[in-house]
Symmetry: C2
Subunit: 399 residues, 2 copies
Amino acid sequence: MLKRLSSNSNFSKGLWKILNQRNMSTSKLDASKLQVTRVSQKSQPKPNDQLVFGKTFTDHMLSIEWTMEKGWDAPVIKPYGPITLDPASCVFHYAFELFEGLKAYRTKDGKITMFRPDKNMERMNKSAARICLPTFDSDELIKLIGKLIEEDKHLVPEGQGYSLYIRPTMIGTTDGLGVGYPDRALLYVITSPVGPYYKTGFKAVKLLATDFATRAWPGGVGDKKLGANYAPCILPQLQAADKGYQQNLWLFGPEKNITEVGTMNVFFVFKDSKTGKKELVTAPLDGTILEGVTRDSVLSLARERLDPKEWEVNERYYTIYEVSERSKKGELVEAFGSGTAAVVSPIKEIGWQDEDIQVPLLPGEQSGELTKDVANWIAAIQYGKEVHGNWSRVVADVN
Amino acid sequence: MLKRLSSNSNFSKGLWKILNQRNMSTSKLDASKLQVTRVSQKSQPKPNDQLVFGKTFTDHMLSIEWTMEKGWDAPVIKPYGPITLDPASCVFHYAFELFEGLKAYRTKDGKITMFRPDKNMERMNKSAARICLPTFDSDELIKLIGKLIEEDKHLVPEGQGYSLYIRPTMIGTTDGLGVGYPDRALLYVITSPVGPYYKTGFKAVKLLATDFATRAWPGGVGDKKLGANYAPCILPQLQAADKGYQQNLWLFGPEKNITEVGTMNVFFVFKDSKTGKKELVTAPLDGTILEGVTRDSVLSLARERLDPKEWEVNERYYTIYEVSERSKKGELVEAFGSGTAAVVSPIKEIGWQDEDIQVPLLPGEQSGELTKDVANWIAAIQYGKEVHGNWSRVVADVN
């Protein structure tokens, strides 16, 4: 039953603490309890050129039920198939839903690895806590996702740019229309073999700097990967598309701070025309910005690899006015979005009021220099050509 | 297929216009196409004292599928039952979902009426358009909801305070993880017999004036009845409950404007200590406030029935500071929330920083004077003791 928090409920002061502690007194997520029901016949991998992002799925899914009373039930790997819910389920009415997106890669030496799954699990737990869905032990879910990938490892595509997109999802499944916290939930993971985001190399995008709609707000949930952040962004995206731009560049506040692009974080490169020093800049994590794993990876690698005599790497507020002014002064060097799907997405133009700010690209190419470097740095780690700390976690051996 | 709007899609400038026009070129919602499959045996009404809000449902539900290609399919009334969806359905990932809440009443003269359904349908269409779900002809859906209520009319409870809560819901059902507009949707309506919100008369609530979380903002979707607006509000509500308050009084901006309370609109009554004139005030519809049907009803009736020599009725910005100051000057007369579930919900105390603002109640009662009057005015119309324009729409004859 969905607990009501309205004035006539029995809600008491202590319940919030109980809610916080509920995972301690009930069953924890336990990968060792995994039960596996396999498909009768494994499907054949599709040719790489027939893979469509998020439309082609593998044979199996991971599914774990949770109740407030008992905690996490035994995890189940079973054939990919539909979910059946009561029409009064709270996921349909009050958006009790969150997700993650990460990828597994087939490496040259016959391994399958996940890229930084600990970061995604950390964020997933933050998202869950924010909307009163249950939290869980990250390592256990990573183990379970590893098992799921192992079941379908023949479907992890091979080749640079190809990967297995992993979509962990959690929904509230309490039946009832009272607005309160869910006492039932379902955590499930589906996986989709995907090709390169840009089939023929980079394709730089045009953005519409958007202040007619606002993606996120201080005190809101813009830093969490909740379903709630997505549906409201489609109409502004269509409005941008109607004007010939592929994505929104989300501005915030009277200052017109640059926050994100479409469903990605965004980076700009400026060059001080007096000192010649370059700056890689992105917005700080102030609660309105999605805490992107690719964003974090870009920042880490840039700080390690860019010569501090030539570069500064900054998380700071910056505005569309600064971008416009520095463009006019010839100080705008390049710009790109960052996210799991495309890794980096070069930007070539930004529409802002009556002006179209041109973002430089390398001559004859669809990207700036750092954009290309960053993409290569990350790809080398993802495809196992290079080891970077614990960023790549082996989940299966293909041989 | 869920249309991708990413940079490598075929999304063209004209598509936004096509999306706007899609309902013109495909099948419209048509109540005359209704197909009915009845339960084999009608259920018996539960005793009034066993009704739980949003937990007890009637025998049937209304279900209508929509596809971008064909438009609205034939409406179906069928036994209440589960919904089966692909785990990649966009409702689970990106919160393509919206709902409405309205009520039907059994009147003394043996009719069943809906209260102002046209207002709910108007808002439902606005919610749909905002997240790119399909719009529909309001009158056709009102007819269909009427048919649904007629099928289960024996389950509409009788007696003052009892009613049938109606929950129209629309979800995006496109299978696919690309973030774009849905090309499949399901509109369904379920109904729940409900009792009075306050079983033993009013019970005034304590609110926590909340600026540590923000419900809605300009350029956002706080004026739409989207699932996305609800899940993020539960944690702040638990935090309020932990401090001994039943609901949040949502503040906005550095001015600390009062916007809403919990999931209701909110009204305050002030009395100018010099002139003796009273003011009924609520926040204006600026895009951050839910356009409540009860709010509109309260404003309409207040403007009709309160003596303008003694009263002003204002939709204006007002802040928690004003409430605090006027309380100290003895100018705070009463306050109440307004919504479909409770109609009006009296307020007795507001926690704000280190102060607890006491809101006067009638001696020995749980409500102020106007709060009680407004509740009676609306109940008289809802239960058919009084006719008010076209607010009550007859949907079935019980005899």
